[in-house]
């Protein structure tokens, strides 16, 4: 699989990361290098090997259904560029 300039531009747009036109070629090259490494890993025979999802032998931690958090509107909004009447205020988005 090979990533071209257009694909690189699309990925950047989906990730909402601004990449200048003259940087796209280099970015595509980096993607290809990463994918090339992954392809190399594909050569390993993993037939019958359980996929490893974590390096620690842990079970997913669970919590009880109890309210232990929240009630801090001021803190939640404290980093907002614009907040009004307890809401985040953002540029209008309408379907």
């Amino acid at each position: 699989m090979s990533i071209d300039k257009d694909t690189a531009a699309k990925v950047a747009k989906l990730a909402r990361i601004k990449v200048e036109e003259d940087q796209l070629e280099a970015l595509a090259g980096e993607f290809n290098a990463v994918l090339g490494f992954i392809e190399q890993l594909n050569e390993v025979d993993v037939e019958g090997v359980e996929p490893m999802v974590s390096v620690t032998p842990m079970r997913l931690k669970r919590r009880q259904d109890v309210v232990t958090d929240g009630g801090m509107q001021d803190k939640i909004l404290s980093n907002a560029p614009d907040a009004r009447e307890g809401f985040f205020a953002v540029p209008k988005v309408v379907e």
Binding site: L14, V53, R62, V66, D69, G86, V90, E95
Partner: protein
Amino acid sequence: MLDLTYEPPKPKVISGAKHDWELVIGMEVHAQVSSNSKLFSGASTQFGAEPNSNVAFVDAAMPGMLPVINEFCVEQAVRTGLGLKAQIHLKSAFDRKNYFYPDLPQGYQISQLYEPIVGEGEILVDMGPGVARKVRIERIHLEQDAGKSIHDMDPNMSFVDLNRTGVALMEIVSRPDIRGPEEAAAYVTKLRQILRYLGTCDGNMQNGNLRADVNVSICRPGQYEKYMETQDFSHLGTRCEIKNMNSMRFIQAAIEYEARRQIKIVENGGTVEQETRLYDPDKNETRSMRSKEEAHDYRYFPCPDLLPLEIEQAWVDDIAANLPELPDEKKARFMGDYGLTEYDASVLTADTDSAGYFEDVVAACDDGKLAANWVINELFGRLKTDEKEISSSPLSPAQLGGIIGLIKADTISGKIAKDVFEIAYTSGRDPKEIVETEGLKQVTDTGAIEAALDQIIADNPAQVEKAKVNPKLAGWFVGQVMKATGGKANPKAVNQLVQQKLGL
């Protein structure tokens, strides 16, 4: 338990300008888990709180915060799966669905695309006595809800409230087995009923706790059967998805509109584009949500913050052992044990409050059929007039059972019973005491009835002559006696005496 068999309903057929068309519908229902706290944070799920007050740093996606799963939510998903006779996956996993929207601070929704917690199940959708559609369930997965954007508080800005962000949802996905707008509404009704029986979702559609995305396509008659035989979607038309509907009426109207829109396109030689659409109830039409199209590239990948969710069979068995009696079983039992019609059994099992009330009445009077009649015809009607729920009925099951007991013992007639019902309903008094205090006891003493009848016969010789020619007039005499005795005469005894005296 009574084993019921059903015929499938006929699919809805819409006549286009050129051909007849059938509908094929699949649904994705988002049901909010009835938990106290969120799926991955300890913030409250309470509806209607101050904006952004039910938000933990995890929900606001602050850097370095990690999700920890709420075990109760997992249990509810398993319960729901068991209630839909579905496979439970002992191992499931969470994935990130990536998209940008102001009410999604993480930039992704944690969901279960590749390994959902619940697999294939089914729902029997009742369409009337003896008619039901079996709708296959493809999967149920757990996911986070998004926040809420409010667009009408300011002309230039949208306001965002993250209280709903991170609340646990069960997405229940059906196969395309629904064949018309009425079936779609009936499907949601039945699913909602089962969820409420299980207690896993309160089913409150107005608050958005149960919402549906509807996939609609059209096909020529005969094509659907080919699909069912082969499970090959190429026999069906291209589908459009109508997003986020929270009213049974809108679901039906949207499907109807969308089907006609697609028929028009195809009959004019065009092709239906697969897309996401929004239903506008004010204009009764669906509109394309073009902005969503590009965002459809969700770039799912396993969520690195969460290990796979592994549960034990013993835990699942324990949940299964504690499932309540579900609507289909309850309905069959009511029909089998109490001899109710399917219609009456369906009405009484619509929710657990009605079913419980009915069974308490039966316990007090030992007559299922009479209890069903009185609950459905008298009590439900009376409650509706007062806009009251059965859970807050002023008339207790013991009182209603008492009234029915008095009818069965021939102490009062059915007609007087309605008066006793009204007095007991409004005053809370004991039916037996009402009958005694108000002197409503049925007169079975033939002497008193005979005296009243003799008087009427003496006063109306002309009617007597007419009745001898036309025996139907006997009813007039019965009516007169009932009137003379204030409705307290036993109608059976009156009837007999009238026949006797008039020599009919």
